[in-house]
């Protein structure tokens, strides 16, 4: 569903992402983890077509993100850690805007259900500046899910959500994966990654330090056997003792 090959992103002399290669198939959830400044957000932005890779390729549902960006973007949704909403569109208008962009013909029927699911029904005519941080995040999630994307890219999706919202978000991610979407999830919450992800991509300083299922990663590093995911992460990224 999404195939990344030798993805590299340079900012001047600084290498933000160095030759990352991985793929995420339908129904898979990839956890992208790494310390601060490892290049996670840059990677997600390259996958979403927001920034252009310096080299390498990203193919979403058969469409190259650079060569065929419109077709690729039609198949994906990117939900950033900081919701980017238009100040002068109400909650409902945001969804209608997205519906038109992606040609969601049954949007009038789906919007109320989606808003109810995310507990935003009573905020339909509210502008984003009047929403709490968590509600803005829910609206961004609703915008991402409205067109049933085949590839779902999430950057710290639980930021700002209350416990019930977190539970619902986790269920939603799992449901989307079960429905056949490929999901890429970046988070510092290792328990979330452990709970949802079918495989991991651990990055540090822009490079891949481990990739595969947790079992595969531990198999390649036998000294990590029996350790918690936190210990595994700290050891792999060299950001702690791992003890």
């Amino acid at each position: 569903m999404i195939v990344v090959n030798a993805l590299t992103k340079l900012y001047g002399d600084v290498t933000a992402v160095r030759s990352l290669s991985f793929d995420v198939g339908p129904g898979e959830v990839l956890g992208l983890v790494g310390p601060n400044g490892a290049g996670k957000t840059t990677t997600l932005r390259c996958l979403s077509g927001i920034i252009r890779p310096t080299s390498g390729s990203v193919v979403v549902a058969g469409h190259d993100v650079i060569q065929d960006s419109v077709a690729a973007k039609r198949e994906l949704a990117f939900i950033p850690d900081e919701p980017h909403l238009f100040d002068y569109l109400t909650v409902e208008e945001h969804l209608r805007f997205i519906a038109r962009l992606y040609g969601v013909a049954d949007a009038p029927a789906r919007i109320p259900a989606l808003l109810a699911e995310l507990e935003l029904s009573d905020k339909m005519r509210t502008l984003p500046p009047e929403l709490s941080r968590g509600m803005k995040q829910k609206l961004a999630i609703a915008c991402g899910l409205l067109h049933d994307p085949r590839v779902l890219i999430l950057d710290e999706p639980l930021t700002g959500l209350d416990p019930a919202g977190m539970r619902r978000m986790k269920n939603t991610i799992a449901e989307r994966a079960r429905a056949g979407s490929a999901v890429i999830l970046s988070s510092h919450l290792l328990n979330l990654v452990e709970e949802l992800c079918t495989k991991l991509l651990v990055v540090s300083r822009g490079s891949c330090v481990a990739y595969g299922t947790l079992a595969e990663i531990i198999e390649s590093r036998p000294e990590l056997a029996g350790r918690s995911l936190e210990d595994v992460f700290l050891t792999l990224t060299g950001t702690g003792s791992g003890e």
Partner: protein, 575 residues
């Protein structure tokens, strides 16, 4: 210990700000901006610095004259009263968001915070002192620059401290009511005495000169009010703080300086003891400033900053299927509808109506007057339209992350964004032109028939659309091609580099506009020349032909800008 930390914060902030600007100048575009801004400042401020003082030349002459001093004192009195009565200057209390979150919970006394605020204000004051000393250099006095700088510093510092005091007292009164009246009674009594004394002094001054009939009698009355009777007492502080600046010799300035410094010291003591409501007032002022800055960055007019936006009426809902670019235009129309500052048009429209009404007598005929008013309004929109309708990339570049995830080509996004601001302006202009045409058709002495007017209205529509698209396109091109150059809606910031950026941007817009108009104007001119036997037909062909060529150029430019937008990364966009 505390002050060393605050001094460190102040010093390092200034140093880092300067050094980051110097580092940025390694990039050619910032270097160009710095050179352009520096050249502008040099030309207007420092060009003749080596020529020595010339009495009466330059802005310093009138400013440093006796009349100039009267005006300055009058402005000081009015400014002080305004600060007390209207309290419009809450920015005197405002801290930045990091200052509120880091300094307010820190183990600092209120006095430390107020002192820090005064220290930060001194940076701006000292900068302004340098500018004013240079501006006043050719003022015709013998004062050495350092003494003149001291005079300007006393004036600016006292003004700032007084505004700060007034803001603190007003905040305290607002919060604590009667209790605050008791605490600040001395300040309030002094203020009341000065107001009453000033009124009495002005009335006496007017009586002394036998009424105000002209500028000379006004100056005489003001001088009398200032130097005799009650005025000499109640207005003495204002005279004293201006005395060092208006001294003619160094010895005069030295004689005046101690009293001026006493007034500054009294104000400092006043600020440091009148700080009861400081934190609450400062936090409120800081929050208001932060909201204002945020809204300005989002492109709304500064005067409308922070006003709550109402979700107006029912807008026709967007159908879920159809060309996706329409969604962008629909979004931007909603933005315009909810943010347009039509109030800013009231004064110019009143002016135009008045001008048109005055012309009724000269030209004759209400119909022609209405037509003229409509035409003037349409013309005015050429200048003000793009400033009012900013519902395009000038706002949406701040949402570049969201824009770049849309399943649209870059050129489609650019076209939709540009159309969002061009269409409303063109539509209003067209309606005005139609109104002008209708009005002319009622003219008792029509020079144009109804058919000619109708034809003109039909031809005007595409012409206006293309012209407004061109204007909007050029203004939208800047944030795409030079995202770091353009303040996206922001009016904050400044400095030589920003000044240079604005100059270079303006030059760029003018040159581009001229280049794009060369071919269409040449073609239109050719059509008029060839069809000079039939001027109306020639004009129609010229307009339509020029519009077609310009439309082709615009379409090409949209493609180019679309590709540029696809290459622009969020990190390149400030704010």
């Amino acid at each position: 210990m505390t002050w060393s930390a605050l001094l460190y914060l102040t010093g390092m902030s200034v140093w880092n700000r300067l050094s980051s600007r110097v580092r940025r100048a390694r990039e050619p575009r910032y270097l160009l901006a710095l050179v352009a801004g520096g050249a502008y400042v040099w030309f207007f401020l420092f060009r003749n610095i080596g020529n020595g003082p010339h009495a009466g030349q330059g802005p310093g002459g009138p400013f440093l004259s006796a009349g100039g001093r009267l005006i300055v004192i009058a402005l000081l009195v009015l400014g002080a009263m305004s600060a007390w009565v209207f309290g419009e200057d809450k920015t005197a209390l405002a801290f930045s968001a990091p200052e509120v979150s880091l300094l307010f919970p820190a183990p600092l006394s209120r006095r430390d915070l107020v002192g820090y605020k005064l220290l930060r204000a001194q940076i701006a004051i000292l900068f302004n002192v340098v500018i004013w000393v240079v501006l006043l250099r050719r003022g015709g006095t013998e004062l050495p620059p350092l003494m003149r700088a001291l005079g300007v510093w006393v004036l600016f510092t006292t003004t700032h401290l007084h505004r700060l005091c007034a803001a603190l007292v007003r905040a305290s009164l607002g919060e604590h009511g009667r209790g605050a009246w008791k605490r600040h009674w001395i300040s309030l009594v002094v203020f009341g005495v000065i107001v009453a004394g000033t009124v009495v002094a002005v009335m006496s001054g007017i009586r002394a000169v036998g009424g105000v009939h002209d500028l000379h009698s006004l100056v005489a009355a003001a001088t009398s009010a200032l130097h005799s009777g009650v005025g000499a007492v109640v207005l003495w502080p204002f005279v004293a703080v201006t005395a060092p600046l208006y001294a003619h010799t160094t010895s005069q300035a030295f004689a005046a300086l101690p009293w001026a410094l006493v007034i500054v010291a009294l104000h400092v003591a006043w600020v440091l003891t009148a700080d009861t409501a400081f934190e609450d007032a400062a936090v409120a002022a800081s929050a208001a400033r932060a909201a204002r800055l945020a809204t300005m960055r989002k492109g709304r007019h500064a005067m409308a900053a922070a006003r709550p936006v109402k979700v107006k009426g029912s807008v026709r809902m967007l159908a879920p299927v159809g060309h996706p670019a329409v969604a962008v235009i629909w979004k931007n129309f909603l933005c315009l509808r909810r943010t347009a500052q039509t109030r800013t048009l009231i004064a110019p429209v009143i002016g135009i109506v008045a001008m048109s009404a005055m012309l009724v007598g000269d030209v004759g005929g209400a119909a022609r007057s209405i037509a003229l008013g409509c035409a003037l309004c349409a013309g005015m929109l050429i200048i003000f339209g793009p400033a009012i309708a900013r519902n395009d990339l000038r706002q949406d570049m701040l949402h570049l992350v969201a824009l770049k995830t849309l399943p649209l080509r870059g050129a489609t996004i650019v076209a939709a964004e540009v159309a969002s601001s061009a269409i409303p302006v063109a539509a209003i202009q067209w309606l005005l032109i139609v109104a002008a045409g209708v009005a002319l058709s009622f003219d008792p002495l029509p020079k144009f028939g109804a058919a000619a007017i109708a034809t003109a209205a039909v031809i005007a529509l595409p012409t206006l659309l293309v012209f407004n698209t061109l204007f909007a396109l050029i203004r939208n091109g800047a944030p795409i091609l030079f995202p770091s150059w353009i303040k996206l809606g922001a009016v904050v910031g400044g400095g030589i580099e920003t000044l240079g950026q604005n100059l270079v941007s303006l030059g760029f817009i003018v040159v581009l506009l001229a280049l794009m108009l060369v071919l269409p104007v040449a073609l239109a001119g050719g059509a008029v020349f060839v069809l000079k036997g039939a001027p109306l037909a020639g004009l129609a062909v010229a307009l339509l032909g020029g519009t077609a060529v310009l439309g082709g150029e615009v379409a090409g430019a949209v493609e180019v800008l679309g590709r540029a937008l696809e290459r622009t990364e969020p990190g390149q966009v400030p704010g």
